[in-house]
């Protein structure tokens, strides 16, 4: 029974619990057991909150028994990226500088999950402070791709993606700043969504790059992701950048899954040079599939997209150099070197040198450089201008088409250790995802097959700001067509954990 429960979708579990076929506690216990089985190999979780999860599940069962109204995902277990504050679980952001930190407040999303009866199984591994594409920058060791344990699960939300792909949880939440939900989703063969910027509250999300960070859902189906999207999204008065508009009708769109007459644009700047042949092959097939489903496909050039990567690697580090300044050993977190004679400045510097990993240090210094007087205009200032041009490229494109598509990431999951010493090679993983972070529009990655290396490939679908429903509509259509063509779920082919 437990094995079956972990194979189910969130929608399926919710329906089964609503029908009284199974209790929330049974569902949670099944997933905890799966974690016990698989996580010593996948290492998706930094902290498994066994007692809290079981308590939360029991509470859902009690409320259901008392006839109280429950949220759509009540009792469904979820893996939460360790960048979200939780009062009853540590929040480390994958960093030694916050090892063991217990926040005195819950993130808005944490609160919404709890209010909705979603069961948080624990906190998942991530690249330190969300900087990275493989979880290899975590201070606590990398996570492993369930398709092939010697490979990366992507990053920075690699832990959440791996947990969902390994059937340790039907739902995951991550954050996407340069692609950190979509890229791990693609290389793990699951669905990952970056909502419109401001669509999901950032209050309680430890900031990496404030104008880019976007919390979003991960799941094994488009519908599940849509259900979670609705629960976690919506205006938050605690977040001044939060969109004050109704959540787009993503669940309805996911159920509709009809693309006939939809205009689809292929972005040449994102689908050529640097892409693995196997990735390109699956991508082309996905585009043909969309055509066969009634969509109209055209090529839409977005010329400034080729500058998105360098612009991002100026803007994000600049914001993070400032956001991470607060980690200074004075109020919380690691403190090193306080021997009674050292100055505050020395203790700060020693703590940060020891507490931060190499990638974080690189980006802090890069950001400090880009913002320095004398360099601001040429670097940060210029990057923000390029950002305007990218936004205009999107606006022009969306006048011609309803959605844009590309591969989610240029390659399939690369081996652990392959890119750790080559920052630029690592950054290239974000090539296709970055433009949407810069422009703030909605984007989704849906699995579209396996490359010849037997590893999953993701199709990226991008829609205008606040048109999140469109990405679900297209994503669901592709998913349904591929599943029916294949005859079984993609993840059934994941060999890593068998």
């Amino acid at each position: 029974m437990a094995g079956e429960l972990t194979m189910m979708t969130a929608a399926g579990l919710a329906a089964a619990m609503a029908a009284g076929e199974v209790s929330a506690l049974e569902v949670t216990d099944a997933h905890l057991a799966r974690i016990g089985d698989a996580d010593d190999r996948v290492r998706a979780f930094l902290h498994v909150a066994t007692e809290q999860a079981r308590q939360a599940a029991r509470a859902v069962d009690q409320r259901r028994a008392a006839g109280e109204p429950l949220g759509a995902l009540a009792g469904v277990p979820l893996a939460l990226k360790d960048v979200f504050t939780t009062t009853d679980m540590p929040t480390t952001c994958g960093s030694a500088i916050l090892d063991g930190w217990r926040p005195p407040y819950d993130a808005t999303i944490t609160r919404r999950l709890r209010a909705g009866g979603v069961v948080i199984l624990g906190k998942t591994n991530m690249d330190e402070f969300a900087m990275g594409s493989s979880t290899e920058n975590s201070a606590f060791g990398p996570s492993h791709n369930p398709w092939d344990l010697s490979r990366v699960p992507g990053g920075s939300s690699g832990g959440s993606a791996a947990a969902v792909a390994a059937f340790e949880a039907p739902l995951g939440i991550g954050t996407d700043t340069g692609g950190s939900i979509r890229q791990p989703a693609a290389v793990c063969g699951v669905v990952g969504v970056k909502p419109t910027y401001g669509g999901s509250s950032r209050y309680g999300v430890v900031a990496f790059a404030s104008s880019l960070d976007s919390p979003g859902p991960l799941a094994r189906t488009v519908l599940d992701a849509a259900l979670l999207h609705e629960v976690m999204s919506g205006h938050d008065p605690c977040d001044a950048t939060s969109v004050d508009a109704p959540v787009p009708p993503v669940v309805a769109a996911a159920r509709q899954a009809d693309v006939s007459g939809l205009r689809i644009g292929v972005v040449p700047e994102l689908s050529g040079e640097g892409c693995q042949p196997g990735v390109l092959a699956r991508f082309s097939e996905a585009v043909e599939l969309l055509e066969s489903l009634g969509a109209k496909v055209a090529e839409v050039s977005c010329p400034h997209f080729s500058y998105a990567l360098p612009a991002y690697y100026l803007i994000a580090p600049s914001e993070c150099s400032s956001n991470l300044a607060r980690f200074d050993a004075m109020r919380y977190g690691l403190r090193v070197g306080d021997d009674g004679t050292a100055s505050a400045e020395e203790v700060m510097s020693l703590t940060r040198a020891q507490g931060f990993g190499a990638e974080v240090k690189r980006r802090i210094m890069l950001g400090t450089y880009a913002l320095s007087s004398g360099y601001y205009d040429a670097y940060y200032g210029k990057a923000q201008q390029v950002r305007t041009l990218i936004i205009r490229d999107f606006e022009a494109a969306f006048e011609q088409v309803d959605v844009l598509v590309s591969p989610t990431t240029p390659t399939t999951a690369f081996p652990l250790g392959e890119r750790v010493d080559d920052p630029l090679a690592m950054y290239v993983a974000d090539l296709c995802t970055i433009p949407s972070d810069l422009a703030g529009n909605a984007a989704l990655s849906v699995p579209c097959g396996l490359a010849p290396d037997g590893l999953p490939v993701g199709l990226q679908i991008m829609a205008p700001v606040l048109a999140d429903d469109r990405i679900y509509r297209v994503g669901a259509a592709v998913e349904a067509a591929l599943d029916s063509r294949r005859g079984h779920r993609l993840l059934d082919q994941a060999k890593g954990l068998s």
């Binding site: 217990r102 910027y197 920052p423």
Partner: protein, 97 residues
């Protein structure tokens, strides 16, 4: 324009990062490569293009001037490395404000 090791040492000081010499050398080399790569943004003709600080154009988001419950001192100080007289105890500060 390559970035000199001294500049990198200065950046480390500005960012409060006490880097060992080998680390500094290693990072300096990497930063040089990265900066050259990101400098590509300068190739873009952007005369008269306004910079974007916020992708989604909102303005005038405020809150009303009404009180909201605070943390207790215990909660505020719970994670502090050192506490004295209900305050955060920090090592001696060098710089005058």
């Amino acid at each position: 324009m390559p970035i000199a090791r001294d500049d990198v040492a200065h950046l480390a000081r500005l960012s409060r990062l006490a880097l060992a010499d080998e680390e500094l050398d290693h990072l300096a080399a990497q930063l040089d490569v990265i900066i050259s790569a990101v400098a590509r943004v300068q190739e873009v003709a952007a005369e008269g293009i306004p910079p974007t600080s916020h992708a989604v154009p909102l303005v005038n988001v405020f809150r009303e001037d009404t009180e909201v419950p605070c943390l207790t001192a215990a909660e505020a100080l719970a994670a502090a490395p050192a506490v004295e007289q209900q305050r955060f105890r920090v090592p001696r500060i060098l710089a005058e404000d």
